[in-house]
């Protein structure tokens, strides 16, 4: 039962949700919305597993005095502080202007935004390293990227031509590439789903 029941549930739930797509009847619409809520609710409860995993890893680092354990204390402190601030005033804790939101705006946001902005540097270093005309494929990659990037630079009379070329690349070969990838992804993803629903692929569920 421990092994069969989950496989059975996946099958029933999966087939049911596929069928639901073709039936516009209001009760099926209702099932769809209800089922989406299931996923959300189960996902929320899983948060505790995540927090536990994070806490356990950090605490064990501190306990064993592993190198850099002091930093793990900061993680634990940040986590505990956020949880405390987020709950101690009930549902008013997350309103604008609370300490909870202060931490969000002045600690979390700047770090997040700066991490994101590192991409400007990385995109340059990746381009420098990889865009060398070593092979045909690399050359194609290099030339198209250059044409598209030059779009932004005022080139005087050439601007118009480059602009046209760039938009041709975007609308013709780029479009073709995307569509082909999408079709392939659609088939691959559908096949993967089918394998899950029919229980052909089941290792993710464990089996003892």
């Amino acid at each position: 039962m421990r092994r069969q029941l989950p496989i059975f549930i996946v099958f029933i739930a999966g087939i049911f949700m596929i069928i639901q797509y073709f039936i516009p009847h209001q009760s099926f619409e209702f099932i769809y919305e209800y089922a989406m809520d299931w996923i959300i609710i189960i996902g929320i409860f899983a948060m505790l597993l995540g927090l536990w995993s994070l806490t356990r890893a950090s605490v064990s680092k501190v306990q064993t005095k592993a190198p850099g354990w002091g930093f793990s204390v900061m993680t634990l402190f940040g986590l505990a502080l956020m949880l405390f601030l987020g709950f101690y005033q009930g549902n008013k804790s997350i309103a604008e202007g609370t300490h909870f939101m202060d931490l969000f705006w002045y600690i979390y946001t700047p770090i997040q935004a700066t991490m994101f902005s590192l991409l400007a540097f990385y995109i340059a270093s990746a381009a420098y390293r990889a865009f060398k005309a070593r092979t045909i494929l690399a050359t194609i990659l290099l030339v198209t990227a250059l044409i598209i990037m030059l779009r932004l630079i005022p080139l005087g009379p050439i601007s118009g031509i480059n602009q046209w070329l760039a938009s041709w690349i975007l609308t013709v070969p780029n479009m073709a590439a995307k569509r082909a990838i999408w079709i392939g992804v659609g088939l691959g993803a559908t096949a993967t789903c089918l394998k899950i629903i029919f229980g052909i692929e089941r290792a993710y569920m464990g089996k003892d």
Binding site: L54, F116, T192, I200, M205
Partner: protein, 307 residues
Amino acid sequence: MELVGTEQCSVPTDKKMKRHLLCKICVLIFLLIFLFAIDSFAQGTETQSTSWFNKDRLNVLLFLVLFFAFVLFFINQAKKGKSLFVRKIPGLDAVEEAVGRATEMGKPILYISGIEDMDNIQTVASMIILGNVAKMVATYDIPLLVPICRPFVVPVAEESVRQGYMSAGRPDAYKKDNIRYISDEQFAYTAGVNGIMLRERPAANLMFGSFYAESLVMAETGFSTGAIQVAGTANIHQLPFFVVACDYTLIGEELFAASAYLSREPKLLGSLKGSDLAKLVIIIILVIGVILETFGVTRFTKWFFVQ
């Protein structure tokens, strides 16, 4: 159950039968409650339709039935022992190479499964690949680090890795602590992963799943540590960055083909064959559609239009 493993049957058969019956009854009761709930509570929905079939979606249904048939047919063929050819996919051969190199160097392997939850099929595919990688890694005593972005992925990753180790006959080598939740937030997660790359110095970074802007941050940091990097995603907007910054990249569908390729299990290879046949059908339909469209017949194209 067809997968290789160390399955034990300790429960006597008649007891098992009873359990089966019990479970079926449970499901039945559950479904009854479910249907009852639908009947009495379906009033609050946005649409108030009472029709039982959406004709606009007939095309999807037909395609789906065809695709089901293809996949199941080839899986059956494979079960019968027909050998199936699969072309080389360099990105997937590189996974084995990467594991080999990490073993030689005695360094860990880092497996990143993207930043989306289990309801994204790429994450599902990634978990399946993770199981296969775990199986490869298990025989050598090197750690497999799996930092995770979504809490719900944690239990699934744990089961996949454990299953992989068990299939390789090394359940003792499985370490739960190596599968760590980091943060739901994209860039907090990225910061954490960067930390792992720099401090634990994995010899191989495997990135399979649904990635967004963090792809390049991770790939560049990984490059700077000198790790061999194999990536795969179906998110088109991130593919250019993986192609540029990683040693090997699985493009789109190749990600979904990975589990069949790595495990070489006939049944999974059968599904690959099925999806190839579907592609052939698509190509034929496309050519027909283009010809008809060229001669001004638009009904065929219109029939494929889905709302």
